[in-house]
């Protein structure tokens, strides 16, 4: 049984910085990606792309009323068109958001991993000039 107490502070830090924290940052990244997919629900928006906007539907007349029939047809058509436009906009925003999160995640994790290098470089720059 290995005793944690036997590990020195450098080993602890090394493990923490290069293993535990990246693991944690990955989980945060995953959470944001998961949140984005739930918040925008892009597959659902695609599935319901041509559904009436907010399920607003007009009922067709029961008897034979050609004018009313066309009125309803046009209304329902516009409801669907409006729904499609809104959803397309949201899909685009959702995709941009996900791409942004994806890139930010990679950058943050890379930045974290390079912090020791940045600190050393910083000192080198300061002391060399």
């Amino acid at each position: 049984m290995e005793q944690a107490g036997e590990r020195n502070i450098i080993t602890l830090w090394f493990l923490w910085h290069f293993y535990e924290m990246p693991k944690f940052l990955f989980s945060v990244w995953k959470n944001y990606l998961k949140f984005g997919s739930n918040y925008f629900s892009i597959p659902l928006l695609f599935k319901t792309l041509f559904s009436p906007w907010r399920r607003y539907k007009w009922m067709y007349p029961k008897g034979f009323d050609i004018i009313e029939f066309f009125n309803t047809l046009i209304s329902n058509f516009f409801s669907r068109v409006l729904g499609a436009i809104c959803r397309v906009i949201l899909i685009v925003i959702g995709i941009i958001f996900q791409i942004f999160i994806f890139i930010s995640g990679i950058l943050v994790i890379l930045f974290w991993l390079f912090i020791p290098l940045i600190i050393i470089s910083g000192f080198l720059i300061v002391f060399s000039t």
């Binding site: 107490g5 959470n31 949140f35 739930n38 918040y39 629900s41 928006l45 907010r54 910083g122 000039t129």
Partner: protein, 844 residues
């Protein structure tokens, strides 16, 4: 068992954290960040040639580098060194608890707990105490730990005094120094016990709160402190659990990056895929909007019912729930919990992101009176709820609107994707909903029980936080415990948590009105006393005196009957001292004796002395209950007509009463059987299906059956034999043995002798004398008058009853006439002629 903190990683972390670079890391991180921001200003100045560009750049790089360095160190200290996951060597706390000999338990200490243990060791070393026991551990915990101080403060303990007392105690118990430092047996016991508590609570490391719980269980000093503060180890356990839960909620709230926290933003995509609910929004409360504003509110209790409801709602069809429970048990909390879990995305996938919307039937009914219009609107509302695809519809107290909505709702309930929650009471279910079995079959009935006392304490603790913030007042934990104890005992007909929440609210308002800064247990006792008109809480000096002198006080109204008075006084003392059975009535007595000997008067005197008022007596003449068909009059009924019980309803309304069942022998035998359960279990279910509790009542049954035997024994000069009388009653089938056995005592009231009657005459005339004194008239009671009254009224079979009539006819009438005719003036002294009953004014 091994306990050596020096060998542990957590001890190294404690030592490392004390290194100045870690101690000031957070401060330096902020300082260099500000410097880095400031360096931009210098760079800007260098562009204007006011500052050296190279220097500005150097400063900027240096400050950024140092900021990064100290940020890293500060994070490392906070997230790694102080965190609980230092025990990475594969050992498990539950294994260590099972086999403590194989492990160094110090390895499992949390960062704070390690600091506490180290503090105790240092404290002892400084005083050259080589055997370290649990008391220095307690001292160190209370001195260094913020959480422990907070707990003690909330328990109502004086932290400063406790520290001083502990210090004195440790100094006093100082022994001869030994060669090496050792831990005493009780120290090791505390650590092992704390480890066990951690395992019970599912924790990986031993925290300072668990050490406090272990100290409450095993440290003699802390035990004494708890006893003197009227606290129990259970209280320490409860408060540590509560603090854990609050800290957990706070830390969850701070962790904005978790999926649960991010989910609180809802789902725009799912919302856009669902429909509008225009008519429903007009007459409804959207619980999703309300719960979205709650930051720390936690729904406690009824977890099983919440899960059951969710399972039903997630079904494909017939996803309708009927929540049945008494008002105040937290039926609405189940709806809130479902709304919260849907909003947080922590529910079943079928329910996540759904809106829980409560249809406000009262608003709807008040705005639309026309029946046809109402039906149209309701149809539109249900249609919208169905079409929207993300609505869980709720109707509170559905039984009250069943006639209006049943027809329309029945159309939607069997539909797929229609999710509905109805809330009702047992009464509403039996009287209204069960009448329409076809309507009931659409629902899955879920009964909501009362929450437990422990859960109520946690609910109150969370509510107390809100009240503390609102009223700027501190609510001590003992006050909360007192509320639960007293509300449970004194408001049996109202369920938890409602009764406790109501009392807490009132107590806080009372304390604020009294300009108090802290809500103390005696404030709770005051509110409960005011509400019940019963003295509760710690006994006041005056009340103690009353209880100790109960016999004398009763004897001020009752002549003779010392045996009866003694038995009943003992029962009251037992009840008030809290040692009587809490399940049974405070006392059940059978008073046997001829008429007019003081059976009823004793009961009245007791109601006056103990319950504060004679009106606290529920008196029922049992001769009115001679037929079995009289049972509904006694305990109530719902059919054929609804009627309240003459016994059960007053007991439900006034649970603190003296119940006098007069002439019990005249009641029907089956009616007497009803009382067997009352005497044994302390409750009866009334005709409406409600529980009437008798645990705070004194029940006195009077009977003059067997009076002839008493007279015979008295005439022959024998001593009254109780057993003989009881045998007679059983033999003649007046009472069954099981009925007589259930009384705490059967008390025989002796027939009154002439001497007793003289004393009674004195008492009765004394009351007249007192009334006349108020009119400043002095009434002289002569011996000859008393003797004459006794002579006129002495009929052993009527007892003292005849005497009241004689005093009224002969004395009170004469005085009243003289008063009206102005024959007697203020400051006159009067006497009554015993022969003629004429008034003698200012006799020589």
């Amino acid at each position: 068992m091994e306990f050596d903190i020096k060998k542990t990683s957590v001890y190294r972390a404690v030592k490392t954290e004390r290194f100045f670079i870690f101690r000031f890391a957070e401060f330096l991180e902020k300082a260099f960040l500000y410097l880095f921001v400031f360096s931009f200003l210098l760079i800007a100045l260098s562009l204007l040639n006011s500052f050296s560009g190279m220097l500005a750049l150097q400063l900027s790089v240096a400050s950024f580098t140092l900021f990064l360095l100290f940020w890293e160190l500060s994070l490392f200290s906070r997230l790694k060194l102080k965190s609980a996951d230092l025990q990475e060597y594969g050992a498990n706390l539950s294994d260590a608890v099972r086999q403590p000999a194989d492990y160094n338990l110090a390895e499992f200490l949390s960062f704070e707990a390690c600091k506490t243990a180290e503090g105790a060791i240092k404290f002892c070393r400084k005083r050259k105490i080589t055997e370290i026991n649990s008391t220095p551990l307690f001292y160190s915990a209370i001195k260094n730990e913020k959480d422990i101080k907070l707990i003690c403060y909330r328990l109502g303990l004086d932290v400063k005094k406790l520290q001083d007392d502990l210090k004195n105690c440790i100094e006093k118990n100082r022994r001869q120094p030994q060669s090496s430092e050792t831990f005493s047996g009780d120290f090791e016991n505390i650590i092992l016990e704390a480890a066990k508590v951690c395992v019970e609570r599912g924790k990986k490391s031993i925290g300072e709160k668990e050490i406090l719980v272990a100290l409450a269980r095993h440290d003699e000093f802390f035990k004494k402190v708890l006893v003197s503060a009227d606290l129990k180890e259970k209280d320490v356990e409860n408060i540590t659990l509560w603090l854990d839960s609050v800290e957990n909620t706070l830390s969850q709230y701070k962790k904005f990056w978790t999926y649960e926290s991010l989910s609180k933003n809802g789902s725009l995509g799912k919302d856009w895929a669902s429909g509008f609910t225009v008519a429903l929004d007009q007459y409804s409360i959207d619980w999703r909007n309300i719960v979205s504003k709650w930051t720390f509110k936690e729904i406690i209790g009824n977890q099983k019912e919440i899960e059951q409801s969710e399972m039903v709602l997630a079904r494909d069809s017939l996803s309708n729930v009927l929540l049945v429970g008494e008002p105040g048990v937290g039926r609405k909390s189940i709806v809130q919990a479902i709304a919260q879990r849907c909003y947080f995305g922590a529910n079943l996938p079928e329910l996540n992101n759904k809106r829980v919307v409560e249809l406000d039937m009262v608003a709807l009914l008040s705005q639309i009176q026309d029946v046809e219009k109402m039906e149209t609107v309701l149809d539109r509302i249900f249609q919208e709820a169905l079409a929207a695809g993300n609505v869980i519809l709720v109707i509170d107290e559905i039984h009250e609107h069943i006639d209006t909505i049943r027809k329309i709702l029945s159309k939607y309930l069997p539909m797929k994707n229609f999710q509905f929650i109805g809330i009702t009471t047992y009464e509403g279910l039996h009287q209204k909903i069960e009448q329409n079995s076809s309507f009931l079959q659409y629902f899955r009935k879920i009964e909501v029980p009362e929450v437990s006392e422990l859960e109520t304490i946690r609910i109150l603790q969370n509510f107390a936080l809100e009240l503390e913030q609102k009223h700027k007042i501190l609510i001590l934990y003992p006050s909360i415990r007192e509320i639960v104890n007293l509300a449970g005992r004194y408001f049996p007909s109202i369920p938890f948590p409602k009764k406790a929440l109501d009392v807490l609210d009132e107590v806080v308002v009372y304390a604020v009105s009294q300009k108090e800064k802290v809500v103390m247990p005696h404030d709770v006792a005051k509110i409960i006393s005011d509400k019940t008109e019963i003295p509760v809480g710690k006994m006041e000096f005056k009340e103690k005196e009353v209880l100790l002198n109960l016999e004398n006080l009763i004897h001020q109204r009752i002549v003779n009957q010392s045996e009866a008075v003694k038995e009943i006084s003992d029962a009251i003392r037992r009840a008030r001292a809290g040692i009587a059975s809490k399940k049974r009535p405070m006392g059940a007595f059978l008073f046997l004796g001829p008429t007019g000997v003081g059976k009823t008067e004793t009961s009245k005197a007791l109601a006056q002395i103990y319950f504060g008022n004679e009106s606290k007596m529920i008196r029922i003449d049992m001769s009115e209950f001679q037929r079995i068909s009289d049972i509904p009059r006694l305990i109530g009924a719902v059919s054929p007509v609804e009627q309240q019980g003459l016994l059960t309803t007053p007991v439900r309304e006034n649970p603190f009463s003296l119940i006098l069942l007069d002439e019990i022998e005249k009641a029907h035998k089956n009616i007497l059987n009803l009382f067997l359960q009352v005497f044994d279990e302390g409750y009866i279910t009334d005709g409406q299906g409600r529980k009437a509790l008798f645990t705070n009542t004194i029940i006195i049954c009077t009977s003059n059956a067997g009076a002839e035997i008493i007279f015979k024994q008295v005439e022959t000069g024998q001593k009254l034999d109780k057993q003989k009388l009881i045998d007679f009653l059983i033999k003649n089938k007046i009472f069954k043995p099981e009925f007589i056995n259930r009384f705490d005592a059967s008390v025989i009231f002796n027939p009154l002798t002439k001497e007793n009657l003289l004393n009674i005459a004195n008492l009765m005339l004394g009351s007249l004398k007192k009334n006349l004194e108020e009119k400043e008239i002095e009434f002289e009671i002569t011996e000859s008058l008393k003797e004459k009254i006794v002579e006129l009224s002495y009929k052993p079979e009527f007892g003292a009853r005849e005497m009241r009539r004689v005093i009224q006819d002969k004395v009170e009438n004469a005085v009243a006439e003289a008063l009206i005719a102005d024959k007697i003036q203020k400051s006159d002294k009067i006497e009554i002629d015993p022969e003629t009953f004429e008034i003698i004014i200012n006799p020589e």
